[in-house]
């Protein structure tokens, strides 16, 4: 019995080491479902909500939209687990430190990509998210750094949604894929996972794509296959049972919704310190994450790097619960009232 438990623990530990590979698979799922959705999406502002509504009314496109939503949710969920696993196995030594810092960059890119996705929904939450972006940049950051309005102007007016769409569908995914390649060059577990592909034979060079003997029995490949299958089944089941939300048509000048779950911790900080906190809190979190390797020692046992990460993630989770269960607070309405006075 004890041996079985030890084996299970060992299996789970090995599975945790390839969560980065699962992230690649989930990214693939979101890209494919996103491409299909893009065929039915209209970036003309007057038509956006109607096109999204039409997507939800057709069973096939509704399923694809739900699939896109749950694949993205699973991606951010797995991303948190992957970062935690890496923090606990200690990003010490040059390659792992670089992999960690590039990973923090990836986290920022994925966060931006998901925010852009929220803008594109064309519903009430969409305009509230945009209002946050607009007031945050123009109303707060531009007071200190006026040149920021160049960015805001670029993402304003009738072409705003089209430009957001191009960034969401092309620019940021391309950035993510490029940074993943660099991330993979440094990450030891990723390099170990791609090892089965490293082996070159005369036949491969001649162009014969025969898998090497034992290729599919490689533990990392087998586990990746299993994880992909499980993730696919989970996403399909969730997509069939729980549809992705779509709120009412947008009504400007008011804030009545809450953000998606992974950013609720920022909402909780906003509830306390107001809209300005929305800009400062993520910067502090990314700075803390970036500092983790600096406190990590290359020796056995926990150190301040591990503790720093665990304290940060515990605060994020606690604030997330607060944001989810607490009352809805209209931050932008209060900010705009203050601005007009």
């Amino acid at each position: 019995m004890l041996l079985a438990l030890k084996n299970l623990k060992s299996e789970l530990q090995q599975t945790g080491m390839i969560l980065g590979g699962l992230l690649l698979t989930l990214l693939f799922f979101t890209v494919v479902s996103g491409i299909i959705l893009a065929l039915f999406y209209n970036t003309q502002p007057e038509e956006t909500y109607r096109s999204v509504l039409a997507i939800t009314e057709n069973p096939f496109t509704a399923f694809i939209r739900n699939f896109h939503y749950w694949a993205t949710d699973l991606l951010i969920f797995t991303l948190f687990l992957h970062i935690t696993r890496v923090a606990l196995t200690k990003p010490s030594g040059k390659p792992r430190r670089y992999a960690w810092w590039i990973g923090v960059g990836l986290l920022i890119l994925v966060g931006s990509e998901m925010l852009l996705g929220t803008f594109l929904r064309g519903d009430q939450e969409s305009i509230e998210a945009y209002t946050h972006f607009f007031l945050g940049t123009t109303g707060v950051v531009a007071s200190y750094l006026p040149f920021v309005t160049v960015i805001t102007d670029f993402f304003s007016g009738h072409t705003a949604l089209f430009r957001f769409f191009i960034f969401h569908a092309v620019v940021v995914p391309f950035g993510i894929l490029s940074v993943i390649v660099i991330h993979g060059l440094f990450a030891p577990s990723f390099r170990a996972m791609i090892a089965p592909w490293k082996k070159m034979s005369d036949a491969t060079i001649r162009g014969e794509l025969k898998p090497q003997p034992g290729f599919w029995r490689t533990p990392s490949v087998r586990k990746m296959g299993m994880l992909t299958l499980v993730a696919l089944v989970v996403i399909i089941v969730l997509s069939l049972l729980l549809p992705a939300p779509l709120l009412s048509e947008p009504h400007g000048g008011m804030e009545v919704t809450k953000t998606p779950w992974w950013i609720l911790w920022v909402v909780a900080v906003e509830n306390i310190y107001g809209l300005n906190a929305m800009l400062i809190a993520p910067v502090i979190l990314f700075a803390v994450f970036a500092a983790v390797p600096l406190f990590t020692k290359d020796r056995a046992g926990a150190d301040w790097g591990v503790y720093l990460y665990l304290i940060a993630i515990a605060i994020v989770l606690a604030l997330g619960f607060w944001g989810a269960l607490g009352p809805q607070v209209p931050h932008t309405e209060m900010f705009m009232e203050g601005m007009e006075m």
Partner: protein, 142 residues
């Protein structure tokens, strides 16, 4: 001490940074100074419903009060709040599981005096079987 190559990079950086800042600030001057009307999001994005402009009182938009809009989204929002709480609970439990699996503990075995300098301490709590399998993968690659 700076090497010539680094100095060149520094000079290029410090040359372009002020030009970029001054240039963009001058370009953006109009936008930042043109008052709350142009800074208002509803006058900027063209989503339907948001094009009505901003009401002075901030209470109605497109003929709907804040309460009416809140009512429109009430059910979906309640479901989303529940889902968010469940997702956060699952994430918390999963992170607790990861802490159980990977928390780096100090070795309870006393190091041998003669080998401490040659063999580094384990960096991860992975079991010996994982290490063996990873070694196997590495060995099979050229």
């Amino acid at each position: 001490m700076l090497r010539p190559k680094n100095m060149r990079t520094d000079i290029i950086f410090w040359f372009f940074l002020p030009i970029f800042l001054v240039g963009t600030t001058a370009f953006a001057h109009g936008g930042a100074e043109s008052g709350p009307e142009t800074r208002h999001p509803e006058t900027q994005i063209g989503l339907p419903g948001s094009r009505m402009g901003h009401d002075d009182m901030g209470t109605t938009t497109g003929g709907m009060t804040r309460g009416e809009v809140a009512e429109l989204i009430e059910d979906t929002q309640a479901v989303e709040e529940k889902r968010s709480a469940i997702k956060l609970t699952l994430l918390t439990l999963s992170i607790v599981g990861l802490i159980y699996l990977y928390f780096p503990r100090r070795s309870t075995v006393a190091p041998l005096a003669s080998t401490t300098t040659s063999s580094p301490a384990p960096q991860t709590p992975l079991s010996a079987s994982t290490a063996a399998k990873t070694d196997d993968i590495e060995r099979r690659s050229p």
